[in-house]
Amino acid sequence: MGRYLGRRLIELIPVFFGVLLVVFAIAHLTPGDPALVMLGERATPEAIERLRDQLGLDEPLHVQFFRYMGRVVRGDLGESIQTDERVIVELGQRFPATVELTLAAMLVASLVGMLTGAIAAARQNSWFDGASMVVALFGFSMPIFWLGIMMILLFAATLGWFPISGRLDFTIDLARRTNLYVLDGLLSGNWAAVGNALRHLVLPAVTLSTVPLAIIARMTRSSLLEVLRQDYVRTARAKGLAETRVVTRHALRNAAIPVVTVIGLNVGSLLGGAILTETIFAWPGVGRLVVDAIFARDYPLVQGAVLMIALIFVVVNLLVDLSYVYLDPRIRYG
């Protein structure tokens, strides 16, 4: 396992390099002079020249790229055009909100998705199976930005069960350590804050979880159906084990590998979906930061955020691969 881990970590280097190259290449697709685009038509020639110099735009492309790579490796993603703050600092401030949202969505999607898929498979061709797969089809096809608006309409504007936007009421006092508000509330034993943060989290998390939930439910169902046809499941049944025990103890673990793969792959769609969800619910995370930065033509910020999200996605995929070893002892890595 140690050697395998080492090899996989070394393999990450060219991937990181490639991701950097793609981000750099796309960032240079700007039509016209990036400095002019960023500063707007009314900028003075001196200001444009200063920015060109600051961004190193007069250097040959390959020099610019290696310089960019050198800076990124040192953790320097440049400065925001709007605030002059370091991009890495801006991202760091917004990052916990996105982490909290995506973790909550992943939790909802995994738990509800696996449970639904497992029940659907255990009762194949029942009304529950049929209904849940139709719902999954709609969930899989769902424009989540629309679902978010509908959730706000029903659960916030009409029923008033949940707040419309934000992460925490202004009236709530919370000692911030991790900036994951639910966790901060738990750490300080501030139950009012935990409840309030959770109430803010429900609608965005459920909205964001919809597509992965549907995919996980479908995958769990088909994977479990496959496993339930195996001989050892028939043996377990023949021993007289209760059906619940057969499904939960014998079949589910073996059906888990494709499900874990799907969960891992969906981290990408969650991070992408977070951009839309954060926009609808005014959730102050990295996703909304990206959208705002695009409209403010704050390219260093956009570029830094995209790079960071992509690198996180790469690392998550590695973790998913590593988790197979625990799920299936037959898989050995040398």
Partner: protein
């Protein structure tokens, strides 16, 4: 049966001829879910094509007196914040959304298929170079990459189509490469090669026709997800620009008058959802029909 006859009959059995597609069509017709999907897709496509004939009002003409009117006999789905007829905008919006879906998938199909063919057929460094590049593109969350491309190139439908096309290229390249690797092992390709067929002829006449099935399936599913991506980009203000009717863009500012005019936020979303469901049902059905072995 002689040795020679066996060799000659093998290709006829494996190759995807007109009979293969006729069989697939028969299987597709017997699949009610797929037929429902096809009906939905055809309905939206026909409505988009016939928009000028069937739309009751001008989709762009504003009537500030008639803002946010609820559904009525005159405006079947109500009006939006600028007094424009929602039904007409949804019908015309289908033109935009479906065109974006078809054009961007067409772009991805053309480039992805070419790359996949080259990688799978020529192998070696062409394969490594192409597929590692595709892996790197897949290292980005698709929506994020699309937003990044449009964000840098500037908002607008053309850039949205380009971005959605780009994020779909690796998917087609992978599928085509995998199929080429499988098909080029087949006896009929060996036979054609032994008969002296050129590489171009092998690719065009023997390999390409036999990898079409997964490409057709992916194109169908891809148009559905492209419609979804495009609507998402337009919702953020990065795709279609005002006053072009587009389903995602129609939802952009509906939050501001959600309580007063919930219909303005409801109907465009239903149009997106139904269209994507239609393409997904049809795509799943096509997969079952074109590759019965995959059916579960």
């Amino acid at each position: 049966m002689s040795e020679r006859a066996v060799v000659l009959s093998a290709p006829a059995r494996v190759r995807m001829t007109a009979g293969f597609y006729a069989d697939a069509w028969r299987r597709l017709r017997r699949n009610p879910a797929a037929m429902a999907g096809m009906a939905i897709v055809l309905l939206f496509a026909l409505a988009a094509l016939a928009a000028p004939l069937i739309a009751p009002h001008d989709p762009i003409e504003q009537d500030l007196e008639g803002r946010l009117l609820p559904p009525s006999a005159k405006f079947l789905l109500g009006t939006d914040d600028l007094g424009r007829d929602l039904l007409s905008r949804i019908i015309y919006g289908g033109r935009t959304s479906l065109s974006v879906g078809i054009v961007s998938v067409g772009l991805a199909l053309a480039i992805g298929t070419l790359l996949g063919l080259v990688a799978g057929f020529y192998g070696r460094w062409a394969d490594s170079l192409t597929m590692r590049t595709m892996d790197i593109m897949l290292a980005f969350p698709a929506t994020l990459l699309a937003i990044f491309i449009v964000g840098i190139r500037g908002p607008g439908l053309n850039n949205a189509m380009l971005a959605i096309g780009v994020i779909n290229v690796p998917i087609f390249a992978r599928i085509v490469r995998g199929s080429v690797l499988r098909v080029r092992q087949e006896d009929f390709v060996e036979a054609a090669r032994a008969l002296g067929a050129s590489q171009g002829r092998l690719l065009r006449h023997h390999i390409l026709p036999n990898i079409l099935a997964p490409v057709i399936v992916q194109s169908t599913l891809g148009i559905g997800s492209a419609v979804l991506e495009a609507a998402g980009l337009s919702f953020l203000g990065l795709g279609a620009q005002a006053p072009t009717p587009e389903w995602g863009a129609m939802l952009t500012n509906t939050r501001e008058f959600l309580r007063d005019a919930p219909w303005a936020a409801t109907f465009p979303g239903i149009a997106i959802l139904l269209t994507v469901v239609g393409f997904n049902l049809l795509g799943d059905g096509l997969r079952d029909a074109l590759d019965p072995r995959l059916r579960q």
